[in-house]
Amino acid sequence: MTTDPEIVSALKNIPWFAELKPEHLNRMVEAATLRNVHAGEELFKEGNKEDCFYFVVEGRVALDIFIPHRGKVRIYTAEPMDLIGWSATTPVIHSRTAGATVVQPGRLVAFNAEKIRQMCEEDHDFGYLFMRRIANIIAGRLMVTRLQLLDMFADPDSESSHA
C-alpha cells in the first residue's frame, strides 16, 4: 500500500499538480495509488475496459497498436509528466485504443477515473481545471500524431538535376 505523502511528493514534480489548490490535490490523491513498475510490464492491452488513467512520474511507457501482418507498432512513448489512458476521463467510456507497456522501469500514479469524474461533476471549478489539462494533453497528442502522419522526414519523389 502506498501512503498519501508519497503520492503527494511524487505528483509535486508535475507542474499542474504543484499548482492545484490543496483541497483539490488532496481529493485527487484520495483517488490515487502509486505503482512501481518494471520494464516489460504490461499496463493494459488494447481493448481493455479498465476505468483508470496514469500519470508517469519516472520511467517510460510505450503505446503500441497491433496491426495484422505487421505486429505491434509503437506509436508513442510517455515520459515523466505525461498522462496515459486519457480516454478514461472522457464522458463515454470505451476500450483502450492502444496497449501500454513499460519500457523503462519507474513509478506511475494511477487514478480512479470514476472518482475523478465525480469530482468534476460536484465541483465545476475543479472540473474546468481538470478538463482543461486533459484538453492540452490531447492537443499535444494530436500534434504529435499529425506530424507523424505527415512523415516530415520522408523522401518525396525526387525531381532531377538539383542538389
Binding site: P156, S158, E159, H162, A163
Partner: protein, 373 residues
C-alpha cells in the same frame, strides 16, 4: 572650326551631319558602338556605324501587349521609344562562359580569359541609365563584385539621350528617372529638329566630340530642349504613385487581388527578360559524356521559372500566384529594402511585352483599392 575649350558640364550644339564623326571617333578609341536599329518590325540594340542606321523618322506606339513601329511623321533619329531589348544584355550578358574544368591528370580550371568588350551605348534614355545604376548596386557591392559585369561596366561609354516623346507605357516621371537624364553619362544629347544639344558629362565624352565641328549652345536651343522636356514629363503614358510603397506590397501578401492577377499571368517570364533591372541568374554546367571536359556558364534566370525556387522536396513557389507576387513585391517592395532604390525605372517594357498586357501600374492601383475597401 571651334575655338572653345570644352568643359565638363558645358553644352554644345552638334549639327546632325557631325554625328557620324562622333561615332567614328568612338570606334577609333576602341569602342563597339551599339545603338537602336529597326529590325523585324521592332527596335533592337545592335552595332551602329552611322546616324542613318538609327530609326530615322520612326515612332513606337506602345500599349499593353502591343508594340507598333510607325514610319514617317517626323525627321528625327532618337524618337522611337525602344523595343524589348535593353542595354542590360551588354553588361550582364544572357550567357557568359565562366570557366572550363578539365581532368587531364588532375582537375584544372581555365577561367574565361577573353578580353572584355568595350561598348559605347548610343542613345541611353533616362529610364535606362537609371536601370544601369540600379544594376550597379546589385552587381558591384563592397562584399562582392560580379567580375563579368564589372569588366564591361568599367569600359563603358554612355551616350545618353533625353526623351521628348514618351510612348504609351512610359512612366519614368513617376519613378523620377526621366524623361530628363540625370547624371552618370559621358555625353547626353537632346534631339531637336536640326541639331543635337549635347551636354558633356566626362572627359571621355569631351574627347569623343573633340573632332566634331560644334557650336556653343545658344539660349534658344537650350530653352527649346527645356520646353520639350517639360512637355514630355506631362505626356507620360502612365503614372505610378509611390507614396505608400514599399509597404503597400510587403505588408499585403494575402490580398484577394493576387488571385485575380494570377488568373491572367502565364508565368512566361517575358517581363523579367525585357526588364532592364532584373538580375537573377543561374549557373549551368556542361559536360562531355566522360565528365572529363566540363564548363560552367552563367545564364539569365527568372523568378517566374517554376524551378527557380526548387529545393529537395518541392518548389516553394509552385503556383503562378506566388511567383507573380514574388516578382511584383520584389520589384516595387523588397528591392527598396535591399538596395535603397526601387527596382523599376518606369520604362514600361513589362507592360508592352506581356502577352496578357498585365500592367504593373494598374496592379498596384488595384491592390491599393482593395485595402481601402
Amino acid at each position: 572650326m571651334h575655338n572653345k575649350v570644352l568643359n565638363i558640364n558645358s553644352s554644345i550644339t552638334l549639327p546632325k551631319s557631325e554625328f557620324d564623326i562622333l561615332l567614328a571617333s568612338l570606334r577609333e578609341l576602341g569602342y563597339q558602338t551599339v545603338g537602336p536599329r529597326v529590325r523585324d518590325e521592332s527596335i533592337v540594340y545592335v552595332e551602329v556605324e552611322k546616324l542613318d542606321d538609327l530609326p530615322h523618322g520612326y515612332t513606337s506606339e506602345q500599349g499593353p501587349a502591343s508594340f507598333r513601329l510607325i514610319s514617317g511623321g517626323h525627321n528625327r533619329y532618337f524618337d522611337a521609344i525602344p523595343g524589348a531589348q535593353s542595354w542590360k544584355q551588354f553588361l550582364f550578358p544572357p550567357r557568359a562562359h565562366i570557366f572550363s574544368a578539365d581532368k587531364i591528370e588532375r582537375w584544372t580550371i581555365q577561367p574565361n580569359e577573353e578580353k572584355p568588350p568595350r561598348y559605347a551605348l548610343i542613345g541611353v534614355r533616362g529610364c535606362e541609365l537609371a536601370a544601369i545604376e540600379i544594376q550597379d548596386r546589385a552587381f558591384l557591392r563592397t562584399d562582392f563584385h560580379d567580375p563579368v559585369y564589372r569588366a564591361r561596366r568599367e569600359r563603358l561609354f554612355i551616350l545618353a539621350v533625353n526623351c521628348l516623346h514618351p510612348a504609351g507605357t512610359c512612366f519614368c516621371a513617376s519613378m523620377e528617372t526621366g524623361p530628363r537624364v540625370r547624371g552618370g553619362y559621358d555625353l547626353c544629347l537632346t534631339e531637336l529638329d536640326d541639331v543635337f544639344l549635347v551636354e558633356i558629362g566626362s572627359e571621355l565624352g569631351r574627347d569623343a566630340v573633340s573632332r566634331c565641328q560644334y557650336e556653343s549652345a545658344s539660349g534658344f536651343v537650350q530653352s527649346a530642349a527645356e520646353k520639350g522636356l517639360e512637355r514630355a514629363a506631362n505626356e507620360m503614358g502612365r503614372t505610378l504613385l509611390l507614396d505608400d510603397l514599399p509597404s503597400l506590397l510587403t505588408d499585403n501578401l494575402e490580398l484577394e487581388h493576387w488571385n485575380e492577377v494570377a488568373k491572367r499571368c502565364l508565368s512566361c517570364a517575358n517581363c523579367t527578360q525585357v526588364c532592364p533591372t532584373c538580375f537573377c541568374w543561374d549557373a549551368v554546367d556542361h559536360t562531355d559524356l566522360l565528365a572529363r571536359n566540363t564548363s560552367r556558364e552563367r545564364v539569365w534566370d527568372s523568378c517566374f521559372n517554376p524551378q527557380y525556387s526548387y529545393v529537395f522536396g518541392g518548389t516553394t513557389r509552385s503556383n503562378i500566384k506566388s511567383r507573380y507576387r514574388q516578382w511584383l513585391t520584389h520589384k516595387l517592395g523588397t528591392w527598396k529594402e535591399q538596395y535603397d532604390t526601387y527596382g523599376c525605372t518606369g520604362c514600361g517594357r513589362c507592360i508592352t511585352w506581356c502577352p496578357e498586357g498585365i500592367d504593373l501600374t494598374e496592379e498596384v492601383a488595384a491592390l491599393r483599392e482593395e485595402i481601402k475597401a
